[in-house]
Symmetry: C2
Subunit: 359 residues, 2 copies
């Protein structure tokens, strides 16, 4: 049973659509790398299009963005450019484009469809479901893009929720600020999930097809404890504990709450790709680190708003609607009271280009 | 500019999902004809599947109901049966199935995706947009199904809304109870729309692919005036005029309101198909006529509820949310007061099987 944590839908002040400007900045940085990968690594002479000369692109974990539209628009431009650069090619051989927008079933597809660019150069389709399972027919996709999505695990590892397990994560909401046993449980869940992800994609992507993954990760062998992400999870966890002490939520509910996110290292991804055996890694780049965001007040507001847009659904599932305003306002205040946090905004983000090998 | 009239979304008491049992009954009757068409007319030896051996089905105007799922489930079973009956075929050659659920962008795709059958044997995709334009890449669909959808025009003919035109439809809401000039305006809109529909499908459907259309129509050369549909439109129009007299809505808004539905005859469809030139008509059947529905009270309730589920969006666009309860309650009462209407429930419904010819 795969769990679903959709981004906040609609276009209200707390929506993901209105609070994903940071992801947008990253997309801009990634764009250049994607363009280069398409120019250098996409072998259009040997890639098999469908009988009907259609080039199919999938954005996995697309949310409701505008980000997904600018990412796929950019990919299409780069692929068109590549086809146009083949002097032997007739105009009629430039493919048509089809884009599959995928996210969990509870994602706000109505909003996604309503905000599709009106003059788009592609056929747009929505595909509901978890990317840890099959989403598309065999060998039917030529380019997969996924940004800020596969750091979400398919679920919280079971042991972490089990009172009788050494990996029980009492009073904390993430592995980053927890014990070794909890870290290992998350690592194992990551390995299992990534195996499923790569297995499904290996069946769906045509030989020679590319997959670009933009992943918030971490540098191997660095210690988490002082990292920006660790500190934000600690702070957010402490907000929940405050609410438990005030009786707003039950302590038991906090104990059984974990954020199913794992920050893999490039080396861990490499190991997963090697175990799968169907892909080669054609490139791996660190995108720029997060830079300072302005004044402390602005930074606190931005981090809290963004955290809410991304994780609100998760918190609602566990604690209900009522606590959301109080929780994220408290979080914002605590961020403001701990300005040193913003000095360590060193979160890593990397981009991997994978190619589906011939069988 | 194509207008959109989505069925009532969600699963509340007024939703299309809860008020489409009549369409479901029709689907049952159609099922047999569809099965026979697939068995006899689908030439699986010569139909071109995608490289990846995928058989693609599109349901155009799918709405949210359970009806679309039972229709596509039935199609898939019949196609599988056909493949299995080819003794030369290996199991590995049985195709995978991909289903495109299409409706206007404002359709409730969130509800559609949430109610997808959990154990479905196909990859499900939602495709937002009007079927009077292109929805799919060239030659990418093998079977198109559309039930109770193409009697909706792309829009109300312009002349009908023009005070200075002889086709101005003052005080009425449909051509069935109007003047010859209005009827001609609707006929012309139908012809234009059907030309667009067939032109788009001719590009999208592979050679040898089938299209099944289930169409509420009318028998050529019969007079509309005493028909069940005519009487219901007259009654619903008179309800609006009553509300105008009471000052609930403005008369001007009633004058500029028309229901963009056209009831074609099988002969008109044939003429459109012939003009397009890419399809042959492989079969045309009258499905059973509507039979009596029970007591007058029950019948009135059913017709009013169904009418509301189908047309609520249209009325809301023009008159706002506020009048809906009063309008459809008044409609129900007037139906009850005119029990003779139910004696003439003679509305025609036909099913056409079209095959995409080789170019």
């Amino acid at each position: 049973m795969v769990e679903a944590y959709p981004m906040k839908g609609g276009d209200g002040p707390n929506s993901y659509a209105k609070n994903s400007s940071y992801q947008k900045g990253v997309a801009g940085a990634a764009q250049e790398v994607v363009n280069r990968a398409i120019a250098e690594k996409l072998d259009i002479d040997n890639i098999t299009l469908s009988n009907s000369n259609t080039f199919s692109i999938a954005d996995l974990g697309c949310s409701v963005g505008p980000n997904t539209f600018s990412a796929v628009g950019n990919i299409i431009e780069a692929v068109q450019l590549k086809y146009q650069s083949q002097v032997r090619l007739l105009d009629s051989q430039i493919p048509e484009f089809q884009v599959f927008f995928n996210d969990h079933t509870p994602n706000d597809f109505n909003m996604l469809f309503q905000s599709l660019p009106p003059n788009r150069q592609y056929y747009a389709m929505g595909v509901p479901g978890s990317f840890y399972g099959r989403l598309f027919p065999k060998a039917s996709v030529h380019f997969v893009h996924s940004s800020y999505a596969i750091h979400w695990l398919s679920r919280v590892p079971k042991q972490v929720l089990d009172k009788n397990s050494p990996a029980w994560n009492k009073g904390r909401i993430h592995y980053l600020n927890s014990t070794d046993a909890v870290v290992r449980a998350f690592e194992a869940q990551y390995a299992e999930d990534m195996a499923c992800f790569l297995h499904a994609r290996a069946q769906e992507i045509v030989c020679g097809g590319l997959m670009v993954l933009i992943i918030p990760g971490h540098i191997q062998d660095t210690h988490h404890s002082q990292s920006f992400r660790n500190m934000t999870y600690q702070l957010l966890g402490s907000c929940l504990m405050d609410l438990a002490r005030k009786g707003v939520v039950s302590e038991e509910k906090v104990d059984s709450f974990n954020i199913p996110i794992y920050y893999m290292s490039p080396q861990e991804l490499e190991a997963s790709v090697e175990r799968n055996g169907c892909f080669s890694i054609e490139g791996m780049e660190n995108l720029r680190k997060i830079s300072k965001l302005g004044s402390v007040t602005e930074s606190a507001q931005l981090i809290a708003s963004h955290g809410r847009a991304v994780m609100e659904g998760l918190f609602r599932q566990q604690f209900g609607d009522e606590i959301l305003d109080e929780l994220f306002d408290l979080y914002r205040k605590k961020l403001e009271e701990n300005p040193s946090i913003f000095e360590s905004m060193d979160a890593t983000l990397f981009l991997a280009v994978l190619k589906r090998n011939a069988n």
